[in-house]
Amino acid sequence: MLVYLIRRIGQSLLVIAVMAFLVFLAVYAVGDPVAILANPEANQAELDAIAARLGLDRPIWEQFGIFVWNALQGDLGTSFVYSESALKVIIERLPATMELAFVALLLSILIGVPLGVIAGLKPDSLVGRSIMSTSILGFSLPNFWIGLMLILLFAVELRWLPASGRGETVEVLGVHLSMFTWNGLSHLLLPAITLALYKSSLVIRIAQAGTREVMLQDYVRFARAKGLSSRRIVFVHVLKNMLIPVVTVLGLELGSMIAFAVVTETVFSYPGMGKLLIDSINRLDRPIVVAYLMLTVFIFVIINLVVDLLYAAIDPRVRLSEAKG
């Protein structure tokens, strides 16, 4: 297990290094931030001074070298706009996005797994068919439209929930979280549902397919031949096998929810990382964009690592083969 862990971490570091190179090159190929930051009437000398202050006058390989050196010390550059550490600016927005993603993930599991299992156990029944057809809707409706409709219904017409922004926060372990106040939760609910609708449709489909497949396996037949109750067969024999693909997909989806909740955050004016990214791209705030992408890569790598470890926890076959390898 330890060998496995070390090897997986080594792979992760390699991925991060390659991504750093690609991200840096790509972002520096786009636009000229000096032109946007400087006063429109500034002369060439002033422009050169700004470029020199930001380190943009050096050759690109030198800039990359400085970037890597600083990054290794935990410094991903200083925002051109906020004149603050780019990482700090992003981290300030991180808890908002994280809690949005986690609430959405929780919702999609709570909705998706039970419905998917029901649909998988009775694929030809009316209930099963209805669940599957409804899930197609959840798939195909665009995110921003669902967001707008939810605002129209719950915020404008019914006035049950607020339409935008983030609610009151309380400090938990030094992090500002809104999910523990009633006001914060009410602000969180609509964007979380918007995000979760698509994900739960995905979970329903994977859970349904997984359940159908597992139900046909010999070990389920053997379990029935042992005289086990249907409840025990579903909750012990089927669920654990069926969860393996669900965990994989949800892990990847959690990453994408954290990194790319851009549209949802914009629709609900939710002050998370996604909205910051859009703003920074518009203002060509390179350090923020680079730092954001590096952080995203880091989050994805971590999630993948956790998923692999979870796998090993669910499926003993992974544990054994990896220990040998």
Partner: protein, 334 residues
């Protein structure tokens, strides 16, 4: 004479498919006494596995038991609700399956899978159930059963997994064990060990054994009596020695002829030409007629009925190969 432990009468199992209603098992009858071993022989698609599943009430839609009766220790199983069937399965009737690599749940430990089989039928403590599971493993020849209990199925070889499955099936001392080709996927040497093991265990507990196989050589060494199935029907039945030595039905003779043996070395193996018929397109006469070397005019038009022969034998054939003499029967049953 005591009543048989397992009695199947006129069993008919149908599946509704896109091509219409298909009768997979048609009028199958047999009975097995306590401690007796019956072989159920046939090619793929002959309905032997479906018959086995029907005994446990494990026929799933679109299939259903359309007619007939299955009694275990005198109790009728056909028509019982699912809840009542769950109490019978694993307790009175157990089953083991063909592929040991897939019969055990890969994500659950062996102890979990064995203990749940005991606790589904008896209110015993976890600890007592665990002890029984350990004893059962030791009995089927698994070394250091205490350690092996907390292992996962992937840590066992195929033969070991089948032993675990057998131990699990016999945990509650069932009256009937249905074994659906449990040795087919194993090495020959392991095959022989498993055969001996099951035979010994069933003899000890007086469990009636129904051994489903396509392999006549297995039946020859194991079973007391045999029923040969073809296209959903029993075409020949009788005591193993009689049937193998003097088969009545040409199909049985064909099966015997296609078993390789030392006596036939160097000579080409006899084959049965053609394929098993599709159940949805059975000919009006004898289903075996198109492949039969002995077929005559009536075989293609009239379906042969079950004809009893002396010595407790029976067959469905218009042109029986060996007709057992009546005096031979008198010798057997004075």
């Amino acid at each position: 004479m005591t009543a048989p432990v397992l009695d199947v009468r006129d069993l008919k199992v149908t599946f509704s498919t896109r091509e219409g209603l298909v009768t997979a098992v048609d009028g199958v009858s047999f009975s097995v006494d306590a401690g007796e071993v019956m072989g159920l022989v046939g090619e793929s698609g002959s309905g032997k596995s479906v018959t086995g599943l029907a005994v446990l009430g494990l026929i799933d839609p679109p299939g259903r038991i359309a007619a007939g009766s299955i009694t275990v220790k005198g109790r009728e199983l056909v028509g019982l609700p699912e809840k009542a069937l769950q109490k019978v399965r694993g307790k009175d009737v157990a089953m083991i399956f063909q592929d040991p690599m897939t019969t055990l749940n890969p994500v659950l430990r062996i102890d979990t899978q064995m203990i749940e089989a005991i606790r589904a039928h008896e209110a015993v403590s976890e600890k007592a159930a665990r002890e029984r599971a350990r004893d059962a493993l030791a009995k089927v020849g698994i070394p250091s059963p205490d350690e092996r209990l907390s292992a996962y199925p992937n840590q066992f070889s195929g033969g070991m997994r089948q032993r675990v499955a057998i131990a699990t099936a016999l945990l509650n001392r069932p009256a009937v064990l249905v074994a659906d080709e449990p040795t087919t996927a194993l090495d020959v040497t392991i095959q022989a060990q498993i055969l001996a093991e099951v035979q010994k265990l069933c003899a000890e507990t007086g469990t009636a054994l129904v051994w489903i196989t396509h392999d006549l050589s297995v039946i020859a060494g194991l079973a007391d009596k045999v029923a040969v199935m073809y296209a959903g029907r029993v075409v020949e039945e009788g005591m193993v020695a009689d049937v193998l030595e003097r088969p009545i039905h040409p199909y049985t003779a064909g099966l015997i002829g296609s078993v390789p043996s030392r006596n036939k070395r160097g000579r080409p193996l006899a084959q049965i030409p053609g394929m098993t018929p599709q159940l949805s397109k059975l000919p009006p006469g004898c289903p075996f007629a198109p492949r039969c070397f002995n077929a005559t005019e009536p075989c293609h038009g009239i379906r042969p009925e079950r004809t009893p022969y002396p010595g407790g034998r029976a067959a469905r054939c218009h042109n029986p190969l060996n007709v057992p003499a009546a005096d031979a029967a008198r010798e057997l049953a004075p």
